[in-house]
Structure formats: C-alpha cells, structure tokens
C-alpha cells in the first residue's frame, strides 16, 4: 500500500463497514481533509448526502464495484466533483475483504450541481438492474395480503405476472447487465422502460417472486432466487434488495450472477444486438422495435383455452385490445421514426406501443388480430398522431417474428404517406387533365350535335318572343297571349341553360361528385345528349333498360362520359356500314354478382384481334383524327367506380363493350 503514497490520485481504503482505514497524501490535497482527520471517518462523511451514500455503499458491497462521477464533500463543507472508482477486494476464498477507492478531481470542479450519482456502477462487477416498483405497489401489496405471501408456493397467474412486470420501471442497468442480457447498448433505450419487455422469459416468475418478497419486507436485506437456466445463462442467481435510502422506498436493486453456457454466447448476443441496431439505425425509413411477447403469451393462452376467433372474443372483451396496447412495448426507434413523430427524446418513444395506433380507431384491434392469426406481416394505412399534434397519413408495415427468429423483436415501419398521397393527388390532377382532354375531344366530335341541341331552345325563345311582340303591337294587344308566350320563353331559356350546364360539365374541369344514382337515368340523359348525333349518322340506338336497377354510387358526369364515349366510338365504327345496318343495342341489367351492368353493342367494323389488347391503352387509335384516349378514360372511370370494362367482338359482327359498377346500397345509404 506504500506505493499509493506516491500516487497522484487519491487512494482510500475502507473496511467493509465503510470506515476509512488508509488514505494517501493525494487524498489530503484533493479533498482538503487532514489525513489524521480522515482516518476513522466513514464513507458517508465524504458525501453530501448520507442516505444516498449508504445506498451506494450497500450496492457496492453487493455488486462488487462502483465507478462514476461523485459529489464529494470537503472538510470546508465545499462540494466538488470527482471521478471515483470503488472496488471490493476479496480474499483467496472469495470472501469480501475491503474496499479500495481511486479518485481524481473532476477537471471542471467544483461542479456547481451534479445529478444524483447512479447508484449502481456503470462498468464491472455483477450485472445489476435498478427498478422502481412504485407503480407495481398496489399489485404487490394485494398479492401479499391476498395470499398470505409464500414465495415458493406462489403460482403466477400469467396475466397477473404480465401486469406486474409491466408496472415495474427500469431506472438503470450496468454494462454487465447489458452484456449479459443482450440489452440495447444505448442505456437511454433501457431507462424508463418496463421490465416486462426486457426481462428473459424463463426467469419472469422468479423476478415476480423476488419483487413480491422484497416489497413485503420491512428491511433492506437481500432476497435471492435461483434459476437453473435462463437463455444462454446457467446457474442464475437473482439477488434483490431495497435501497437503503429511506427516501426512495420503491427503488429495488437486482443483481444477477450467472455463468454463460458457451464462450461464444456473448459475442453472438452482441453481434445480433448490433445487427438489429445497425439495421434499424441505418434504415432510411422510420422503424420501431417492439417487444410483443407479452401479447403473444396472452394469445397462446387464449388458443390453449380453445379460442380461435379472436375477432369475436375481442368484441366481447374490448379490454383485451387495451391491455395489449399497454403490455406491448416499444424498446427502440431510429432517428427517422423520431423525426416522423416530431419527438425530441428517444425515451418519449420507449414504452407502451399504444401511441402508435391512437390516431386510427380500430387499428390497434386489427394489428392484434393480425398478430393472433400468426401472419408474418400486417400492412395497413393509418392516420397517426404525432407528438407535436399533427395527424399524418402513414403506411404501416408490421413484421411479427416467426419461430426461429428473435421472439422479442417485432419490427414496425411507417412510410410517410402524405408525400405519397400528395403525389397521388397530383396524379389525379394529371388524370383530371387527361379526362378533361378526352371530354373535350368527345365534345369536339360532337360539336354539330351540341350546336343543334342548343339551337332548339334558342329558336323557340326567339320565335316566341317575336310572336308575343306581334300580339303586343296589335291595335288591340292580346296580353293573355303575350303572357302565355313569355312563360314558354322562360321554359325554353331554362332548357337552354341546362344544356349549356351539361356542356360545361363535360368541358369543364371538375372533381368527381359521388352520389347515389339510378343508372338508367344516367343512360337516359346520354341518349338525349346523343340523339342528334346518332340521327345524323343514321344510327338507330335500341335501348333495353332493366327497370328498378339498384342504385349505384358514382359520379353522374363521369359515367355519362363512359357511355357517350362508347356510343360515339360505335357510331364512328359504323360510318362505313350500310345504312340499314347501323344499330346500337344498349342494355342495362343486374349481373350475377349484383353489379349494375351495361353493354353497348354495335354493328360496325368490330375490333381486329390484334388490337384487342391495345384499345384501352392511352393514345391507341386507328382513326386519322383520333386521340386514342376515349377508352383509356372509360377504363379509368369505371375502375375508379370499383368496376371493370371489357371489349369483345359479337359473333354476328360488330363490337360489344361491357362494363359493370358495384351497387351503391352498401356504400352509402
């Protein structure tokens, strides 16, 4: 020990009580205590807080080591920061002998205020966990009261164990625990989590027992539990005790001593840990790592008790969804996830997974059902509430572990959908432009018909106006006639207005308006619109409309556009046919799937077999002045309505176009 006399760091030797038995000259200069004054004093005399000091000391003896930044009290009552390493020395038989402390003043001493020192050593010694059992108190106390506590006979009801361990919060772990338990290397991701999500499966009941026993005790003496094998660990001994500091009665320390059953185990453990860590931190999408084992256990029990239909079961037990939301825990997130949710601290993201599904009613339940069903992946579009209060659209991708994989890791990814939805909105505008162009081209093909349509009421208006003027200018003005004619003028003006509106609808850009429609009505309006065009081309349209069609849910103008496009195509296809054979058969019906179906058959040229595949493509046309977008638009409209359109040739010649639209009764009523 004499060598220490020449050391520049303070070296102090304590006996197991914490009484100082030796100090070197550096201790005097560093802490400003006279060596003579130091000897015989206690560890806690050097500390600003006695209770904290005694907690630390007890932990030190039980774990074997403590190191970190400590607040030291000088003789002058001034406090300074120091890096301190305390090590328990053992004799040849492994019994604790004494404690040696090396200390160096912190460079930026005096530290004005130092946070409470961690009560367990960061490095070295045995694996150690620090828990806060405050929230688990009601459960622990109830246990003790209800069962007249007997640790060894305690049969854990799994739900109860889940709830208990979900209530126990991790305050800290040391490096040894991280290594031994394969915890996330970043302590941030462990602290404040529930122990349920990180504690190994096989020793959960032992931990539950241990905590129950500790909670029931009035002193801070340690309790132990032994488990033969835990994952890769053998001869596991859990030693737990309450903090000696009476101000924190809910702080419990658990030391874990064990032997790794294979030398490679640690490396493997770390490698897999790193693999996941790297995987998620480098993924360019928001990723959450979730431990859903607790839910998995519940599901296993439900299955064991014969429940196969969780959908029905969860309807009777809505609290199940709630419970899973709480016991399924997020234990890691990457930066992208934090960004997506607008969160600052990783610790805000760690904990019950509930917040992931809060923005979308029913989402948590669907995820639960997916997990129960044993599928590997679950995908759904969600709205999520971010931490800064936004509601964003995301695509959720969940991957549940399958046997052979780390059971504790369920991966959740979210793709920000708002960007995609924006892109889609843009696409829709482009599509809108496209269909606008198509409508205009159809209108262009029909300008003569349109002129005709609009001229009818205009002629009537003019004629009636002229007539009434004549009546009024008579020597004996016929007011009655003028009145009657003026009302007719109003009627015709209304009609003209309707026609112009219809053309504007066709020509103008608009967003679709979905309403419940009588499809026959829609067809009827088209026939009015096309009447002149077909008459002029000497085409007879024979419509057979099935009465009492169920209503469909759709956009009137768009559906009219489909019919008009198809009929205009048919009329064009019959241009060269002999006049006597220019016929279009239009039929509406309800098909075997209860869809409203419409077929338009003509007696024209038909469609050459090698064109069949292309006619619905944009810009495919066989016409000199064709645009080739009519059918493409028809298809996109029909599909947007949830239906399908097909083309064929009729055995008796000519083309047949058929499309169907689902009925709207279920969609909206």
């Amino acid at each position: 020990m004499e060598l220490a006399d020449y050391a520049t760091d303070s070296v102090i030797r304590y006996d197991l009580d914490g009484t100082i038995r030796y100090c070197n000259p550096a201790s005097e200069t560093q802490f400003g205590w006279k060596a003579a004054k130091l000897l015989g004093r206690h560890f806690h005399d050097l500390m600003p807080d006695r209770a904290e000091a005694s907690s630390l000391w007890k932990n030190l003896l039980r774990i074997g080591r403590w190191d970190g930044l400590l607040q030291r009290r000088l003789q002058s009552e001034v406090e300074i920061g120091a890096y301190v390493r305390l090590t328990v020395r053992h004799d040849s038989r492994g019994r604790p002998l004494d404690v040696v402390e090396y200390a160096a003043l912190s460079m930026n001493s005096p530290v004005p205020s130092l946070p409470v020192p961690p009560l367990i050593a960061e490095r070295g010694g045995a694996a150690c966990w620090q828990f806060n059992i405050k929230r688990a108190r009601p459960l622990l106390d109830a246990d003790a009261a209800a069962t007249g506590y007997d640790a060894n006979e305690q049969e854990w009801h799994p739900d109860r164990l889940d709830t208990l361990l979900a209530a126990v919060q991790i305050v800290d772990v040391n490096d040894e625990a991280i290594r031994l338990f394969g915890l996330p290397a970043d302590r941030d991701k462990i602290v404040d989590r529930r122990v349920a999500s990180l504690w190994p499966e096989q020793s959960r009941a032992a931990l539950g027992d241990l905590l129950t026993a500790i909670a029931a005790k009035t002193d801070t003496e340690p309790e132990t539990r032994e488990i033969p094998v835990v994952d890769r660990l053998q001869h596991v001994v859990l030693t737990g005790w309450r903090a000696a500091d009476p101000r924190c009665p809910d702080i419990v320390f658990v030391r874990v001593n064990a032997i790794l059953n294979a030398p490679n185990a640690v490396i493997e453990l770390e490698a897999s840990q790193n693999r996941y860590r790297n995987l998620i931190s480098f993924l360019p999408v928001p990723v959450w790592q979730i431990d859903a084992r607790a839910a998995g256990r519940i599901f296993d029990r439900l299955k064991a008790s014969g429940i196969t239909d969780l959908a029905a079961y969860s309807e009777e037990h809505p609290e199940l969804v709630d419970l899973t939301c709480d016991i399924v825990q997020v234990f890691d997130v990457n930066d992208e996830a934090m960004q997506l949710f607008g969160g600052r601290q990783r610790s805000d993201f760690i904990g019950p997974a509930r917040y992931l599904f809060d923005g979308t009613p029913g989402a948590a339940r669907r995820v639960m059902l997916a997990h129960f069903s044993g599928v590997r992946n679950h995908v759904e579009e969600l709205k999520v509430k971010t931490f800064d209060g936004r509601l964003i659209d995301v695509l959720l991708l969940m991957t549940f572990p399958v046997p052979g994989e780390r059971r504790d890791t369920t991966i959740v990814m979210m793709m920000d959908n708002s960007a995609r939805l924006e892109a889609e909105a843009k696409l829709r505008i482009v599509e809108g432009d496209f269909s606008h162009a198509a409508r205009l081209s159809t209108l262009g093909e029909m300008t003569t018909s349109i002129a005709h349509e609009i001229k009818q009421p205009l002629s009537a208006i003019l004629m009636n106006a002229q007539t009434s003027l004549r009546y009024l200018r008579k020597a004996d003005p016929n007011l009655e006639k003028a009145d009657q004619l003026t009302s007719r003028i109003v009627e015709s003006a209304q009609r003209a207005n309707d026609i112009i509106g219809r053309i504007q609808d066709m020509a103008g850009k608009r967003d679709p308006i979905y309403t419940l429609l009588d499809f026959n009505d829609v067809v009827h309006q088209c026939l009015v619109f096309l009447r002149h065009e077909s008459e002029e081309k000497l085409v007879v349209i024979k419509a057979r409309l099935q009465p009492d069609l169920p209503p469909i849910h759709g956009d009137r103008i768009q559906l009219q556009q489909v019919i008009v496009n198809l009929i205009v195509n048919s009329i064009q296809a019959m241009n060269t046919a002999p006049q006597t054979q220019r016929e279009i058969y239009l039929e509406t019906s309800v098909d075997e799937d209860d869809h409203v179906a419409c077929s338009i058959r003509d007696t024209g040229t038909g469609i050459p077999a090698d064109h069949m595949d292309q006619i619905f493509d944009g810009f495919f046309t066989t016409k000199e002045d064709g645009l080739g977008i009519g059918l493409a638009i028809c298809q996109s409209i029909v599909r947007a309505h949830g239906g399908e359109i097909t083309a064929a040739n009729h055995p008796e010649g000519g083309a047949v176009f058929r499309f169907w639209i689902p009925t709207g009764s279920t969609a909206e009523l």
């Binding site: 003569t448 005709h452 004629m463 009636n464 007539t467 006639k481 015709s492």
Partner: protein
C-alpha cells in the same frame, strides 16, 4: 323593321284574299275566322319549337296543324289538304329530306320550307335541288319566315291543279 313587317302583313292579306277569291271563298271575312284558309303543316319533333311555330303562324293569321314526326304528318296528309309544309330537317325516324322524297310522289305540288339547326350545305343543296321553297337556319327570323311562306303560297297557287 316594324314598317316592313306592316308592309308584309298588308301584302299577305291581299295575297290571301286573292287566294281565297280564287278558291271561291267568301270575300271580306276575317281570314282567321274562316275554316278553309291556307293551311300550313308544321313537322318538328321538338315540342317547344313546334309550339312556337304554331303561335307565330297564328299571329300571322294562318291556319296550321302541327305534327311531331314525318310519319304522323304522312298519315294525316291527303292531297291538297295543306297549302304549305314547314318541316325540320333533323328528326328521329324519317328525316325532313326523306319526307320531301316521299311527298315528291304523294303531293308534288306541296311547297316545302325546311328549317334546320345547322347550316349543313349538303343537305341544303339537296333540299333546294329537290324543289324546296326555302332552307332556313335556326334561329329563324319571323319576317324572313313570313316572306318565304308567302312565296310558297304563291308558288303553290301557281302549281298545276291536277284531278
């Protein structure tokens, strides 16, 4: 325009009376009150226009009968029953031109005035070549129509009477 209208109005009265005279009808009695004044047939499938035309012809003091389609007109038609036909060009079923073709054999002396919403030059020349009095585009000016009706009636007047 008013003076011109009045002029034409006066003219038609004189001409009508001349026609009446030729047909041995009572002189000096108000034309419109008579059962057998020149009778104009109107064929148009558009109800509002048809009605408007009827009203206009009435204020001109013609007698007229309107038909919704060529077929109905043909069913009601007998030789010399009408003194003039005003028909729409574009109609469902039998078009104005087809009607004209049929009348060429049924009642070749019946003067025909076409009205059309379009200035389809092909149809127009076809109609005129086949002997139409006029081919008027909608919307129709009342004075112009009146002038053509008078022209038609006078032409009809000069058509050979066959037995």
């Amino acid at each position: 325009m008013i003076t011109r209208t009045r002029l034409w109005y006066g003219f038609v009265k004189i001409r009508t009376q001349q026609i009446l005279k030729r047909c041995d009808y009572v002189r000096g009695v108000k034309v419109s009150n008579l059962a057998l004044v020149p009778k104009i047939a109107v064929v148009d499938d558009d109800a509002s226009l048809r009605d408007a035309l009827v009203e206009l012809l009435e204020v001109f003091d013609f007698k007229c009968q309107a038909f919704e389609g060529a077929e109905l007109f043909l069913a009601a038609h007998t030789k010399n029953r009408f003194d003039c036909l005003i028909t729409d060009l574009n109609m469902k079923g039998c078009s104005g031109l087809q009607l004209q073709q049929k009348l060429a054999t049924l009642d070749p002396r019946l003067p025909v005035i076409f009205i059309s919403a379009q200035s389809d030059s092909e149809a127009r020349s076809k109609a005129l070549r086949s002997g139409a009095v006029a081919f008027l585009s909608k919307p129709i000016n009342d004075d112009v129509l009146y002038r053509h009706i008078i022209a038609a009636l006078s032409r009809g007047m000069s058509r050979p009477v066959d037995d």
